[in-house]
Symmetry: C2
Subunit: 370 residues, 2 copies
DNA sequence: GTGAAAGCGCTAACAT
DNA sequence: ATGTTAGCGCTTTCAC
């Protein structure tokens, strides 16, 4: 259907090599011939086929990008950042959503591998590491958003599986798990972000501060939770165990966790939500419980999403530079295969945006609950 | 670097065709050989190259998706829908952001064409139509989110341009602009959505209702604005010209438009925002102007984003099924090249979500403005 | 400056 | 059931 280089060559009365030269810019072509080729191409509506070229050059010009959920504001910003950068680099991007599901993550990784993307950017779900395979292949891999989980589950998925997908996790026997340290990562400095929020809250006089976390219940406490405990400890504020609530990354789960926390600890004077879903939940639950913000309860959250400012009162939030993270990660993922990546993870600063949702420790008068 | 089909064939002591059969599922292979092949493949960490296969089969398994801004909640939902569907279809998706810029749109279309995507889904910016080229090529094209603009700008971009990009808009001379009607589209029934909101507002007694539109100032009124006028007219409510404000799709522009409208028409009792950016602006400006919602001003908006519920009061909104739109569009874009698409655009229903931001027409007592 | 030819990794006849 | 062969559209020596 579509015209090929041969058609153009024939139409222009030249060899295919000449047509190639005209379009790839390489080599020298006389102005006259170039014009004839261009004209012929125009007539035929010719566009060089990337797949033909890729086969020869071994570069597809594509970058693989996998995030848990494109609908999440942080992820969306990140994607936008990658897109921005990719554009300047002349790369395109294959996007997919992992939903935080390791199985899906593995499928996506496989797909990216098959498609021979030039680089991969992944926001890993934290269980196992379907992405590590790329470092063996020499495909630049960059983690974003969160550090590659230190304690990777190292599950071998169905060694005796069916024909399709039989290769997932293949060859992971001997040369398995690449040293985590050698995979570059671009992250927000979450610990610092959490710390700034904690310090702010403690500075307002709060002592009983709840934490709404994101990882699956039962999972090892994630980095944010650790950071929260560390920050409070450093400030001399004891962290009681039931002050932290964990939820899966869904609205329902976040709501349940928030409701649970706020009800079992009615003495809380503040909560720190570790993500926008938790933040939403906190606001909603507080409203449901007739807690006035910030008079009865101060709320701060990680992720400065658009609605933070629209809330009443506007929500104090820790802004993570999602766009920058995506942009920087893309630069690394698109780097020449030879070049070495930065040794440690790139930590981008967060920013505490103080709005109206936190107040000095409240008088404990009437806290109507239910 | 990566193992090829030949390596595997050699390692397994079989012909390359056999390896191909094992991996493509086609043809019959004895269990014994299959195992040997699989084992060899595993050892070599072999993954069939999509680029080799695509060259032969003339299908890349990729779909092109272009939206103005992945960061916009509606677009994000749409993207998520496409991703969902593509996954079930075994396709991957190339995503890019147009920013509503026709030039960028054209570049993206070119890229998709070069990459030989199997189908294209585009949320067109409305000026010109860089996408029409695909119908000539026989690549399934589907518009989403808004109807392809009837009055296409038909600009020919730099006919005598440099070598690179010289073919943008090429061959558009004779067989140009495909009949718009033959390009399938999946859209929200915006007109009905606007109408439902307008009827709701009028039903509450409102007569002076402002409209916050999205298209560039000076551009022909877009479908939503038309729908707004039509809806009010049908209800016997006159639409004064300066009741509608137009803005570019940016926060600043939306804010300026909202501020302008609310200030010049302090007699407004309600506003209908045509998108989430306008809605944000309306809320912010109302707050700035010390207008109580809904006592002094009722607000309704198109797009039921997450924050609508978090607002105080929660915002009444017209929900558009972004996810479904994406899903349906993907089905159409991935259809076999032969099959005919639906004749008319697919119109998906909207849903008026009544919350607390609209009230019966207010007493006109004290409306403190600046 | 330009053309001929070899091959990139794969699939699909066609043989066997 | 399996191997051989001919391309798919392109880039790239290597001649001329």
């Amino acid at each position: 259907m579509a015209a090929t280089i041969k058609d153009v060559a024939a139409a222009a009365g030249v060899g295919i090599a000449t047509v190639s030269r005209v379009f790839s810019g390489a080599g020298a072509v006389s102005a006259a011939t170039r014009e004839r080729v261009l004209a012929a191409a125009r007539d035929l509506d010719y566009r060089p086929s990337a797949v033909g070229r890729s086969l020869k050059t071994r570069r597809t010009g594509g970058l693989g990008l996998a995030v848990p959920d494109v609908t999440d504001p942080f992820c969306a910003e990140l994607v936008a950042g990658v897109l921005d950068c990719a554009r300047t680099l002349g790369q395109h991007v294959l996007l997919d959503a992992t939903r935080g599901d390791p199985a899906r993550e593995a499928e996506i990784a496989d797909r990216f591998a098959e498609q021979r993307v030039d680089g991969v950017i992944a926001l890993p779900s934290g269980t196992g590491d379907p992405w590590a395979g790329f470092v063996r292949t020499g495909v630049p891999l960059v983690y974003v958003g969160r550090p590659p989980s230190a304690r990777s589950g190292r599950r071998r998925s169905g060694t005796g599986g069916a024909a399709s997908g039989a290769l997932s996790g293949a060859a992971s026997g001997a040369a398995s798990g690449a040293v985590p340290g050698e995979v570059p990562a671009v992250l927000a400095d979450d610990a610092a972000g959490i710390r700034s929020a904690a310090e702010y809250l403690v500075g307002l006089g709060h002592r009983r501060i709840g934490f709404l976390g994101a990882p699956a219940p039962g999972a090892p406490p994630d980095a944010r939770e650790d950071a929260f405990r560390a920050a409070l400890a450093a400030l001399g504020v004891p962290v009681e165990e039931d002050l932290v609530a964990r939820a899966r990354p869904t609205r329902d789960s976040a709501y349940a966790a928030a409701a649970g926390l706020l009800q079992r600890r009615s003495d809380l004077t503040a909560v720190l939500a570790s993500g926008n879903l938790s933040g939403e939940a906190a606001v909603l639950v507080a409203r449901e419980l007739d807690l006035r913000v910030p008079a009865d309860l101060s709320i701060a959250m990680v992720d400065d999403v658009a609605w933070a400012e629209l809330c009443d009162p506007p929500l104090t939030a820790v802004a993570r530079p999602g766009r920058d993270i995506g942009y920087r990660a893309c630069e690394l993922a698109a780097r020449d295969t030879g070049r070495r990546a930065p040794s440690g993870p790139v930590l981008l600063p967060t920013d505490l945006i103080v709005r109206g949702s936190c107040a000095p420790i409240p008088s404990r008068r009437e806290r109507a609950r239910h």
